[in-house]
Symmetry: C2
Subunit: 73 residues, 2 copies
Amino acid sequence: MPKRTVLDPQGQTIQHALSGLGYAAVKDVRQGKFFVLNLDGWSRDEAQKQLDRISKEVLTNPVIEEYRFEIVE
Amino acid sequence: MPKRTVLDPQGQTIQHALSGLGYAAVKDVRQGKFFVLNLDGWSRDEAQKQLDRISKEVLTNPVIEEYRFEIVE
């Protein structure tokens, strides 16, 4: 997800398109990505640690994006 | 989110990259998009109806993607 302080031109384009289609109630749109990872072989604690690393080092650009993750069993 | 039956080459590429980085516990990756919409002027019921239309007609390609949404107040 782009940080609040970072412009999101894709989101703006979508908001503009929706407004043109009559959806004036949509005041703002931000676009982000998500990933569903299937894990096998990590304990919950280990998954927590590794996912934090993967998020920071592989899946996001921490300069302009923020992330969060959830572990579901 | 691409439907289960649809190939997700981006997800596969990420899974492959993670595997190469030593994260062998990550067995599968699927990538999707999400949107955060700021709404103003719709009741919850109306938002539910309109968001379903927006999701189906604007934000996703229902042939290859599935969607869900959540309304948070």
